[in-house]
Amino acid sequence: MQNKIKYRAFVLLTAAVAFSGCRKIFNLPTEKSYLSTQATYAQKDFSFILGRTYVYNGVFNSDNSTFPIDFTITNPRFGDGRDASDMLKKIPTLVWTQEYTGKETSLAQIAAKRKLENHSPLEIRGNGDVMWWNNVRSKIRGGTFDAATIDTVVYPQQKRYFDVKLTNSGGSRTIKDLTVTTQVDQPYSPVDDYNIYTGQPNTGTPNSHQIQHIFAQLFNIDGETTGTNIDPHAASSLVYVYIRKFSDDSTGHRLRFKFLNKDSLEINPKRFSATKWLEQVHGFTADGAPGPDFTDTYVEYNVAYPIPLAKIPTKYTSGGVANINGGGSAHVEFSYSRVAQGGIRKTGVILQDFNIYEPGDWEIVFHFKTENPKFDND
């Protein structure tokens, strides 16, 4: 009997030896993802102009926490406690599915590279970047979103607050009181003639009645009467640029260029005969071929908005393809050439960098306000 007990003890001990390597016996900690206690937002106040897409890059300092981290926006509110969940409402939004190259040969090709997805205006993506989508418009621009900034001073009750909850398998943390300040849309750029708080024509200061203008850039264009270079800023030879909608069609997709003389009569765009029309705007004729449709009063491209479509350097953006940091704004250049005084050949150029953020039928008008350009040879 005693031997039996001893044998049993032996068997038990053998079993203990065999299984003692198990992790459980040693009560070892289990592996989990790392969520640093120091992880935080380096920037907590964000400002967005409605109608544009923003990505605030690198604002989240993960302190080497393990990605993927799930970022959730919680507790959206205004500074006075009102609900601000309108910025979390999902809205169909155009997103890219393939890379835009600037070499697409039809609108359909461009359309095929984008699709509609539901996104809320404010989003945080996987790396903590704070993002704003171009899918809402302020009431001033015919939308429904309350931009609530009508002045340079922004009160807390006009700001939207939110908290961000970080979660990975290592735990979760909440970073509190990030703010969003939304400004009313600026549907185009440059906006010298546009009051960025009210959407009305810009008068410079609130009490002024002096309308501000965008001035074109001109080179080597002589005045019809003066015979000297037109300075677009000089009172005697003002050249204004108007960027404006010519129809109320919110689904419009046309972009026109017009040139007005000092009598506000259209100049035939074909007079800018040295213009490379195929390289001005990534647009197409009504039939779908690359390039514009010509009339005697304007040239018209069928385009996709926004312009430029993405911050990618193409031949349609300022600086062209070689400008590797470019792609931020579109660039047009209209030119003609003539024999000037003394028999020299002058190539006149009128050029403009611009952006258009809001879809619609837009026209960009170059208005020779006080002096007409000279097209004829001397």
């Binding site: 031997n3 001893k6 001990l13 203990a16 030896v17 003692s20 390597g21 992790r23 016996i25 040693f26 070892l28 900690p29 289990t30 592996e31 989990k32 790392y34 969520l35 640093s36 206690t37 897409t53 990505v55 890059n57 690198g58 993960s62 080497n64 393990t66 990605f67 993927p68 981290i69 997103v95 890219w96 599915t97 393939q98 890379e99 835009y100 590279k113 997805e117 993506r125 996987g126 790396n127 903590g128 970047d129 993002m131 989508w133 290592g170 479509l309 993405a310 911050k311 990618i312 350097p313 590797i324 940091n325």
Partner: protein
Amino acid sequence: MRKQIIWPSIFFCVLFLCQNLMAQVKKITVKGIILDAATKEPLTGATIGTPGKGLTQADVDGKYSVIVDDGATLVFTNVGYVSQTVKLRPGQVALNINLTASANEINGVVVRGYVKRNRDEQTGSSYIITGKEVQDNPVGNVEQLLQGKVAGLNIQNNTGAPGMRGSVNIRGLSTIAITGTGDNAYLQPTSPLYIIDGIPLTADQASQYGFDQQGSGVSPLSLIPQEDIASMEILKDATATALYGSRGAYGVILITTVRGKSKIPRVMYTANFYVSAVPKLRSLYGGTNERNFKINQIQTYGINNDKYLLSNTPALSDSLNAYYNNSTDWQGIYYSDKFNTTHNVEMDGGDEKFNYKANLKYFSQSGLIANTGFENYSLDMNMQFKPSPKLSFFGSIRSSLGKVQAGSGTGVLQTIVNNSAGKSSLLPGPSFLLATSDVLSSLDIRNNAGPKEIDANINASYELLKGLVLGTTTNYTYRTDNTDSFLPAAANGQTTLMNNDYSYYSELYNRNNISYTKPIGNHNLFFSVFNEIYIKNNQENYTRIFGSPNDTYEGPYGYNGALSTGGGVLDNFLNLRTASFAGAFTYDYKKKYVVDFTYRVDGSSVNGQNNLYTKNPSVGFKWNLTNEDWISNRTKGWLDQADLRLTAGQNIYPVGELKDIYGKYNSNGFYDNQSRVSVDFDEIPNPNLKSKSVIQYNLGFDVSLFHEAVNVTFDTYYKKVDNELFKIFLDNTLGFNYYNSNGVALSDYGYELTLTLHPLSKTSKLRWDINLNGALNYDVLLKLPSQYNGQTYSDQDVTSPELTKQYVVYRVGRNSLSNWLFINQGVYASTANVPVDPVTGLRLRSVVSGTNSGTALNPLYSYQGGDAILQDANHDYVIDARDRQVSGNSQPLLTGGFSNTLGYKAFSLNIYCSYTAVRSVINASLAQRLLLLSDPFGSNSVPTASDLRIWKGTGDATAKFANVYDYAHEQYMSNFRASQTLFQENGSYFKINQVTLSYNVPKNFTKRIGLNSVRTYFSASNLAIFTPYSGPNVENVNALGKDVDGAYPNPRTYTLGFNVQF
């Protein structure tokens, strides 16, 4: 050591028993010779006796003569051999005996806590290797021969640099401390404590591993002649190492040197002649092939004005230019096979009253790399004197001189050579006027470096009463190590450069002990107390001076202080005192149940003032199953021996430095004739600093079956390493930058199995011994300082990564050392496969330098077809530092070895292999090799890449490597960053360490030429490695598992050796 107890006991036995002989009546004289059954060597000192009595011993030729009763039974015993009992036939007067070596690891005598004990009374886990196993293969460092021989002892011979050491770990990882950055990053070595004839040896400083820029990098272990080693014992668990506690936390290796044991003086001469062969080097394009390759590459992939630049690159465009019209084999210039010799003479003699030994060794090894090598001269002597049975003295002197040449590298890294060997084959070969400075610096640097060590040791013991022994040991070691290197002006921008490094190390060690053994009936008691004191000093000075008069005069040093660019006393300054008090108590009942208790109090001057003393207890229990009658009765015939061991205990290792405890003061020159000394605000002192502690639990058993045909030893353990030193960075609002804490803990647990087999019967003419061992070890990081919340990195600078750097992640709950890597998922078949950011419409980008860099918006950094697919872990369509993930384990899970010895008559063949499995190695060498394919304008050679599956063109979805040929694009993408899973490979391997064929020249022949015995052997080491790894050498990677380009290759050596006894 074993012999020390056996010999006196035999001596006493003989003395006592002789009295009884007087009473015998009919006597005969039996004569004969006792030989080793395997080697047929005479067994000097074998004991001849009757059962229970020793009568006499064999002389130097193994001959004996004994007077016994006619027809008596004789018992022949010798340490390390299976004893043999023979009944004499009536009238028989001649009897020759062959004794077989004992393979039983369980019996025998061992030393514990500096006191000799019987092995079956030991509760701890250990393993003995005989001196024979570390012969026959000349090595600069005997440690490398232990690879794969002991379960749980993980040795990686990760450098082939002569005189340098690999990495050694007993039972897994004991540290997570990483020093240095980039390719110079290394894991803090946790070398076991070596005890040579009872004297501890300090061999664990980083400077002794060749990691440092300064110092010769030679390990003191390299100064121990392998021929002088009688046995090595590896102590693994806490109870075995308990009494070596103050530095025994990483395990202990006891080395016993050869003792004189022959009345007739013996002279043993050993000579080795060996060839070190260069392993397979990188295969490269030469001459025209290289030129055509580069031109073709530029024509195909050039951007901007590359094609114009091509015509301005004469090396490529001007093929008729004599300067560039070459096909130089640069690797052949640096790497070549070398022939070396070693010689060892050992003289010994004496008996148990007085014996002596002197060992004289010359070792030389020229490195595979030009201008590198190691030479060692050593003279070791010892003598033992026993004027009376109660009193004994032992004294020894070890002295050695090492000389090392490291060329232009540090000990283990040869970066300059590596870069030079990768030079374009179009360039002309070296000559003093043509070559570039790095070539000259490698070939013409003049080095005079190496350690010189002298070590004196005296030991006395006196038996005051029966069983009560007093002992004292004093040892003084002094080692200087200096490096003088001189770089000629032509190799260093027209200015000579002299580096001078001098360090000294001294250690005074004293131990006094009292031990008492008392058997009371069936109960045996043993008590021992001792105290131990260390005084260690170390200081290293360094100067670097430019400009000597010319390349011939190497000096004068220091004649102009303005030409010195720094130096002074390096931060490895040491002034350490430790004092320990220890007690041990062992009790056993009929040797069935053994209980061990030890308790040790260690004080160290590098502990904080508030924690000066550490208390280290240990307890062990052993049950010798076969000593139980109820078991032995039932298992007779098949079970020879079995026991069960259970131990627990703690050991420590001091880790701090004086400045961690007391802070540092800087001298800031003079102001107003007053010297200014101020506090250094980098590190805040921590008065609570503790020694690192290792708590270990061990459960094991030993079984010997079928007349020792099968021997099994199994251990399972759990080891917790606590109080690991870790830097904690403070808030920048505080005055200080960081402090050193004890906030880290890790654990190792696993199994060890040793299997020794003798499949053939003892009477068989063919001898066959098999030894198999393996260890499975898991390590887990248990704790980090709380502010790290469970994860941190070896390098604080992690947000803007250097892509070649290895970032090690410490994550609680995971293996302690993991890599932080980009996850590679293949190669983009075409540009259309690259994901596009839905928000911005941009293709996936690569951001190399910093997360906020503008490169995220630069289209040149876009991925395209043929680029590596790296996982975008945070879904932001940018590949940057944040996408890296924790991956891999640089420490092997499985290590072990296999040894197979076959013997027939005078021939013996030994094949010995080792293996390491389940670990990850970062193949930075392959990454580097691929990058050489991506630099057509550079002056690098071009390796062949036909064996690599490189992307072939649009649509190639199965490629493994990105399109390396598109150099213009690669400069933006860094597709070949080493820190990605593509280069993290399986570092398992099986290696044939050594094959040795030996032959004992027949006695009758050797006698004729006047020699006692001649043994000759041929051995080949580092023969072959079988591995799935694609790099040059899977073992030649650093302890962090990075295959650093520029590591010193391991040679394959072929040795012809002779062993002659006069």
